[in-house]
């Protein structure tokens, strides 16, 4: 890959930065307080082509490439991790699935709507008390003629209650284990599909998490995505491509927080000098700057692989393995630098701290990232 951004990518980055300042900043405090999906901001993102940023032009996307999209996610995250997460769960998770495995008809209807921002997407992968497909509350899909009947429960569904369409992973063959998992495109308005409750969480408030109940939801056979039994592999790939974008959220939040800490530290006088003149503080800033930079490079590199159509699962697993820790440790240090003020809700650091912890969840995925990485090491 080229280690410098093209003029076009820089321009997209600048545009996203201006957009975030203009349209996202005003919503941040309210969103964090209420946890309610910021519909107006999402509509604005649609208007500015963010929702279909890397999706194919044929279906209404801007086709700017995954790296350009990643740059946008990073810029949004500097201002609001929640808004960045909404975009990622729509674009990297739901829309990616339709774009990657959808039939032409599925793409024409759903992908076009998602790329243009007429339909917001979400992925329903996890079940209460279990990894996908393994629990008592799993969603089971039974085929009857030309329709599938979906019954069961999904939890931690990001964009839940706000999305217009869900990619739902359901068991079509209970005997086949992981190979019995299949994906369906389900209209959020489908009869029998209910938002059971919204789930409160530490941060990223505004990117709603919901528990979804499927009570005999009828999905036409044409709503099956990929093929029967292809679900587990699809889920793994979605989590990989989403992980790259989640890494960008971590980078954006940590970068913004570090800049705040540097600014605060230069003005905070203790023992007659700015605290940034103390090596103890300098070391923390240097460590986080280096960690953020390395994570950013890993993220850009993985995005470049996605753009080139090359394999990226291992690189994505590496990001999932360490990006979360780097984000958390950066924010632990940022608040340490800002002290009691950083711990108070008056400073952005306390929100960044809560947001960064959830930006990329290591073990919420179908499997341990270590496994993917070590398989490559031992190959």
């Amino acid at each position: 890959m080229s280690y410098t951004l093209t003029e076009e990518q820089q321009l997209i980055q600048q545009t996203a930065r201006e957009f975030a300042q203009e349209y996202v900043v005003p919503s941040v405090a309210e969103c964090d307080k209420t946890g309610v999906h910021p519909g107006e901001v999402v509509n604005k993102m649609a208007e500015y082509d963010f929702l279909g940023l890397y999706l194919p032009g044929e279906y209404g996307g801007a086709e700017a490439g995954y790296l350009s999209y990643i740059l946008t996610v990073e810029e949004l995250a500097k201002v609001s991790g929640a808004v960045a997460a909404i975009l990622v769960n729509h674009a990297s998770a739901a829309a990616y699935a339709v774009s990657r495995w959808g039939s032409d008809a599925q793409k024409k209807s759903w992908l076009t709507a998602m790329a243009k921002g007429d339909a917001l997407g979400g992925v329903a992968g996890l079940e209460p008390g279990a990894a996908p497909g393994a629990g008592a509350d799993r969603v089971v899909a039974v085929r009857e003629g030309d329709t599938y009947n979906l019954t069961g429960m999904k939890t931690y569904v990001a964009n839940g209650g706000a999305a217009d369409v869900y990619i739902v992973f359901a068991v079509t063959n209970p005997e086949a284990g992981a190979k019995g998992l299949s994906a369906f495109i389900v209209d959020a308005k489908a009869a029998g599909l209910k938002v059971n409750r919204l789930i409160g969480k530490m941060g990223l408030r505004g990117c709603q998490w919901a528990e979804l109940v499927f009570d005999n939801v009828k999905v036409p056979a044409a709503g099956l995505l990929g093929g029967e039994g292809a679900g587990a592999a699809m889920l793994a790939e979605i989590q990989a491509v989403t992980g790259v974008a989640e890494g960008a959220i971590v980078v954006g939040i940590a970068q913004a927080a570090m800049e705040d800490a540097a600014k605060y530290g230069k003005q905070r006088i203790q023992f007659g000098r700015p605290i940034t003149s103390f090596p103890a503080i300098q070391t923390m800033l240097a460590d986080m700057a280096a960690n953020i930079h390395l994570t950013r490079l890993a993220v850009y590199h993985a995005a470049d692989l996605v753009d080139k159509g090359e394999k990226f699962a291992v690189e994505a697993a590496m990001i999932r393995l360490f990006a979360g820790r780097i984000g958390a440790s950066a924010l632990i240090d940022v608040i340490q630098i800002e002290g009691g003020y950083g711990y108070s809700e008056e400073m952005a650091a306390s929100r960044f701290y809560r947001d960064v912890q959830g930006a990329i969840l290591k073990n919420s995925s179908a499997d341990f990232p270590e496994k993917t990485i070590v398989a490559e090491v031992l190959a």
Binding site: E7, E8, L11, I12, Q14, T15, E18, F19, E22, E47, Y48, D49, F50, L53, A62, E63, A64, S68, T72
Partner: protein, 259 residues
């Protein structure tokens, strides 16, 4: 359909320029370029006219080699085509030279029904180029424009003056310079950013403009550039009664000639 020319300057972002505490010299090593702020208003106004009544919009800029980086940014904001004069001599150019260069370029690429400039640039803010450009081209000049209409061949502009406004109507073509109140420049959408790559950008060589060395020699010479440093008086009023503090503050301000 009318044809509009909008002029812009590619300047260093003043937010990134640091003042060295020791000698007040400027450090622009970390500064990036941007389209000068008021010129963004000029661009937006041209694009609004283009959308409102149909017009083709050309843009023109004169600057050092760095102006080549500005082309996509400019085109993503709506103009149909951009002409650029990239020449190292721009570093020493003043309003006299710049207006001469742009006038010569406009003669080549025009004629235009309307030429729009920002009131002044974000770096030097001399407010010279627009009126000089008008004089060069023999056109009427309207400055401080806060609202603008094209009515047939006529240009109707409202000027923002000290404590009043003035509505001016002239027969076009004309050169106007706009103030920030005129509009709120849009952020381009990503599709506009991407489409910018497909729009034409044409270089004009300064040598092809037929300007004499004298016309390319600045009339003003910059000797030094220094940062502005605000000196605090560090006077504290610590009387027990607040009224005494107020009285002392007023007296101190009066002594400084502030009130």
């Amino acid at each position: 359909m009318s044809k509009i020319l909008v002029c812009y300057k590619w300047v260093l972002d003043e937010q990134d320029i640091r003042v060295n505490a020791a000698d007040a010299s400027l450090d622009s090593s970390r500064a990036k370029y941007k389209i000068s702020d008021y010129d963004k208003n000029a661009i937006e106004e041209a694009v609004l006219l283009q959308e409102g009544q149909g017009a083709t919009v050309d843009a023109v800029t004169f600057g050092g080699d760095a102006v080549k980086q500005s082309l996509k940014d400019l085109l993503s904001r709506g103009p149909d085509k951009v002409f650029y004069i990239a020449d190292p001599s721009a570093d020493k150019a003043d309003g006299y030279v710049t207006a001469g260069v742009i006038a010569a370029a406009a003669r080549k690429t025009g004629p235009y029904d309307l030429i729009i400039c920002g009131e002044g640039s974000a770096d030097s803010y001399n407010q010279q180029v627009a009126p000089r450009l008008a004089a060069n081209l023999g056109l009427p000049s309207i400055t401080y424009v806060q609202s603008l209409k094209l009515e047939g061949g006529r240009v109707v502009a409202t000027r923002k003056l000290g404590d009043c406004t003035e509505v001016v109507t002239v027969e076009g073509p004309a050169v106007v310079s706009v103030v920030p109140e005129i509009n709120k420049p849009r952020i381009p959408s990503l599709k506009q950013v991407l489409a910018a790559a497909k729009k034409p950008a044409e270089e004009i060589k300064i040598a092809d403009l037929g300007l004499s060395p004298k016309q390319l020699t600045a009339k003003t010479v910059s000797l030094t550039v220094k940062g502005f440093v605000m000196n605090r008086k560090n006077i504290l009023f610590k009387e027990p009664a607040q009224a005494d503090n107020v009285a002392k503050l007023v007296a101190a301000l009066a002594k400084e000639g502030v009130c």
